[in-house]
Subunit: 332 residues, 2 copies
């Protein structure tokens, strides 16, 4: 991102909407071709995630929620890697420079950047004839070699998730006017909660230190719990046995499940949760849970990693294994 | 970028095409949610640039040239900032996973990554219903505080550019079947050279050390020499006087200009040059030019930075100022 002559629309757009939120000295006031990250002795963790209109968010999602989602899906990756956010760069592909869209987008982006201590450092704004796309590369710091990997889970470690699972896919169904929308026709608060979980995930950065201190492996749940757990298992060379009844659900999700509106399959394969999935050794669990309580993040132990290469098993109260037709969302 | 279960198309795509080129240890074999940059005591320079089908490249440009252009426009920024490339992350928005496109794309990306010492560290692959888009965030290293800025040019400094100016916009005209294509109908070599300059820029990373050692300000020329010089002047609080006759042209561009096919305005406002524009203090110029010769990069002194806030003046052999209708490309 760079600017100079006020005559250029692109430069004016950057100066007007993004310069006010680029308050970090390494952003050079967005007046240069690059940003700079100062050395601190830490490893710099780099993650990149893009969201595309019509794929990751809906065309009529409010611009402030699009901004927050774009940043938060990246913050969620940093949290799962045990990293402390340190900044991000933004690529914005727009059909046109619409003030009514850009103003709330930039303002919300700045608010989240401040809230999560992850300042805007630079970026690129390009025109596209196609769908709006927001691509963010975010940076975090960890002590050298301390990034938490997907590989590292050991048989006997607990399978732990934060927050609640499945709300986002139910929120998407509300927005699409599906069965969930119909079932919750009389419950505006529940509809609003679920939609909020789809549009504005709650990254668990408050838990990053606890993950770094205790997790043998971690990732964030973005494509669905079942598929992402399978990925973590594959990377770690283990399997897992999950107690379906232990998977944490919001009261809205629990009600919808109890009344038969949605099955557990949809909940554990839906994606967009942006919760942390991690492996916690049994003898660390108490200390981990204590740190999580202090951080204000709910954590639930939902099963155990086991030896083997089979796909994780999701078991009901009778010990019967759930058969899944698909495990997670895939773009192709 | 991350993978695991072979069943997922997205993961298979990453494993097949991108894992083989992600050879840096910080990429973790693309088997995690993030990459890691090791601390070296240097500042990390971060730049991000996206290219969009139909905007920055043509729908029928070969996939290998799209890959090279996407990486090279970022390498060009690193070179202009005096930084040594250290790696990049890739966001690829695709309509579908077409092997005939992805295979040469990934192979060329890997070749350029090796050639420029800038390994693939990670990324994100998403589906889009719209135009193909390649967004890259690239990293470089400079000793602390030594990134070269746009601001810093002083009155009396020489205005210096690398390579030749204007070839890319002429190459675009060839591809679009415009006046340049007609004028060069009998000269396949010239057409090919110009098209090559549009599709595959030559980033001047070999000159990065010389820029860092000697330039008081620098940027790469991406949106047109006239506009980018105006931006550098604005950032530095100076103006400039340019001798139009000193602007380095390829023989093809010089011929087209001499025969009246294109004017100098098109050449200096066309963009996509990806040459370095920099300010070199008079007493450093000889040493800078010597380093450039050793690096094998042609440099030309095209004018002088002067005091004042006026837009840079482009002067012909009679000292008359060229009047420009527009200075550069802007997306909005």
């Amino acid at each position: 991102m760079a600017s100079g002559r006020p005559a250029s629309g692109e430069d004016a757009l950057i100066a007007r909407y993004f310069r006010p939120i680029a308050i970090d000295p390494g952003a050079f006031n967005l007046d240069d071709d690059a940003a700079a990250l100062k050395p601190s002795g830490d490893d710099i963790v780099v993650t990149t995630d893009a969201i595309v209109e019509g794929v990751h968010f809906l065309p009529d999602d409010p611009p402030d929620t699009v901004a927050r989602k774009a940043l938060r899906v990246n913050l969620s990756d940093l949290a799962a890697k045990g990293a402390t956010p340190t900044g991000f760069v933004l690529t914005l592909a727009l059909r046109n420079a619409d003030e009514a869209w850009l103003k709330p987008f930039a303002q919300a982006l700045g608010e989240d950047a401040t809230q999560f201590g992850c300042p805007l450092l630079g970026g690129d704004t390009v025109s596209t004839p196609g769908p709006l796309m927001v691509s963010i590369t975010a940076f975090g710091r960890v002590p050298p070699g301390k990034m938490v990997h997907r590989s590292g889970a050991k048989p006997g470690d607990r399978v732990v998730v934060t927050g609640t699972i499945g709300d986002a896919v139910l929120g998407l169904d509300v927005l699409k006017g599906g069965a969930v929308a119909a079932a919750l026709a009389g419950d505006a608060a529940a509809r609003q909660m679920l939609v909020g979980r789809y549009r504005v995930p709650e990254p668990r950065n408050a838990l990053a230190n606890a993950v770094r201190d205790h997790a043998s492996a971690a990732m964030d749940v973005s494509d669905g719990l079942a598929g992402d757990l399978a990925k973590l298992c594959a990377a770690s060379g283990v399997s897992a046995a999950i107690d379906l009844g232990s998977i944490p659900l919001s009261s809205a999700a629990a009600s919808l499940r109890a009344q038969g509106t949605v099955g557990i399959e949809a909940i554990i394969t839906g994606g967009d949760d942006y919760e942390i999935l991690c492996a916690i050794p049994e003898n660390s669990f108490e200390a981990f849970a204590r740190q999580a309580r202090l951080a204000g993040v709910a954590v639930a132990s939902i099963g155990t990693f086991i030896a083997g290469a089979s796909i994780p098993a999701f078991l009901d109260a009778q010990g019967r294994e759930l058969r899944l037709e698909r495990f997670s969302y895939s773009h192709f």
